[in-house]
């Protein structure tokens, strides 16, 4: 009645590293931390733009962008499952 359209479920590859759930939770927490860091960096960056501190503004905006990117890559890696 039900067709398995996604193919057979593969067993865990022997030799591939197994990560404990606690590591996954730690990665989740780190991704949230990076998100908050990015939010803070963006806020101070926009504020620095208003204070005519262009170097600081650009630096904080770049840091915020990289933090966001890292947070995204940790939770939703490209090409990963």
């Amino acid at each position: 009645m039900f067709e398995n359209v996604s193919g057979p479920v593969l067993p865990h590859r022997p030799g591939a590293p197994r990560y404990a759930p606690i590591v996954s939770r730690a990665i989740d927490a780190f991704a949230v931390l990076l998100l908050f860091a990015a939010a803070t960096a963006f806020g101070f960056g926009v504020h620095a733009l208003g204070q005519r501190d262009d170097f600081k503004a650009v630096y904080l905006l770049v840091i915020g962008g990289l933090s966001l990117r890292a947070s995204t890559e940790l939770l939703r890696p490209r090409g990963g499952g």
């Binding site: 479920v9 593969l10 865990h12 591939a16 590293p17 197994r18 990560y19 404990a20 759930p21 590591v23 996954s24 990665i27 989740d28 991704a31 949230v32 990076l34 998100l35 908050f36 990015a38 939010a39 963006f42 806020g43 960056g45 926009v46 504020h47 733009l49 208003g50 005519r52 630096y59 905006l61 770049v62 840091i63 915020g64 962008g65 990289l66 933090s67 966001l68 990117r69 890292a70 947070s71 995204t72 890559e73 940790l74 939770l75 939703r76 890696p77 490209r78 090409g79 990963g80 499952g81």
Partner: protein, 272 residues
């Protein structure tokens, strides 16, 4: 046997009830065309397709944004004439909307906007930024939005489909998954952070810098809101084949972040 008859009669009644709106819809569409202009207008008002919305929006937009510029003392005399002709065009267009829609759009939108632009150009001295009233400008912006919406193409709504009968024995549908813990606070923080950026950008006084700050704030607000929503939902998702792990791409992003942070700290220390 009597049950069969009752069932048939109820089916016939049901079909009749379904067919009634189908018959009524074309009749409603044709009725306004068969009568005079006044009767047509009354029929349109009764049917909810009243041009009154368009007329009101046109007049408010003209009164708040065109009239003060074209009828002021500093404006040239032709400006008032062009503005009044534009108002007449804007008010005349909606009246032909149901009978001659193409003509109505040419008069009510194209001619009205062209004449309004002409009035603004002729009365440009009155449009100096120093003389603009923020409250009137806000009302005018809303009125022009209402004008655009009032000229929208109305959708023809067909007869509503009957609801499928419910199966009393069917189990309640359950959600396939639930949000991870803390999803709502994380998404809320992201949205609030985006709003804070927009507020901070309004505090930038310098003209050129303010424009850049607005653009940067909007980009940051969009980015933080989108990523916060993604982080809020994707936490706790586990792949069917393996647990979550740090991929090479994620490692590269983290390495770049660390390099920039260290470089920033080094620059700060060197400046001291």
């Amino acid at each position: 046997m009597s049950d069969d008859r009752e069932q048939r009669s109820s089916e016939t009644d049901h079909e009749g009830a379904l067919a009634e709106p189908l018959k009524a819809a074309p009749a409603r569409a044709l009725a306004p065309q068969a009568e005079g202009p006044v009767a047509r207008l009354v029929a349109e008002i009764r049917a909810g397709d009243s041009p009154g919305q368009t007329l009101l929006a046109t007049f408010v937009a003209w009164a708040t944004t065109v009239a003060p510029a074209a009828l002021s003392r500093s404006a040239a005399r032709p400006a008032a004439f062009v503005a009044v002709v534009g108002l007449l065009a804007g008010l005349a267009g909606p009246l032909f909307r149901s009978s001659r829609p193409t003509l109505a759009r040419h008069v009510g939108i194209t001619a009205f906007l062209a004449l309004t632009t002409g009035a603004w150009l002729l009365g440009s001295p009155a449009l100096a930024p120093a003389r603009l009233d923020p409250l009137r400008a806000s009302v005018g912006a809303i009125a022009w939005g209402a004008f655009a919406l009032s000229w929208r193409e109305r959708w023809e709504t067909g007869p509503s489909k009957p609801e499928a009968p419910r199966d009393p024995d069917a189990p309640l549908l359950q959600a396939r998954s639930t949000l991870p813990r803390g999803a709502i606070p994380i998404a809320t923080v992201g949205i609030l952070a985006g709003l804070v950026y927009l507020v901070l950008a309004w505090h930038v006084r310098d003209g050129d810098r303010a424009l850049a700050a607005q653009a940067v704030a909007v980009a940051c607000a969009v980015a933080i809101s989108a990523v916060a929503a993604m982080v809020a939902v994707d936490r706790g998702k586990r792949s069917s084949r393996s647990s979550r792990r740090v991929t090479p791409a994620a490692g590269k992003s983290l390495l770049m972040l660390v390099v920039f942070v260290v470089a920033g700290v080094a620059v700060v220390l060197m400046r001291r």
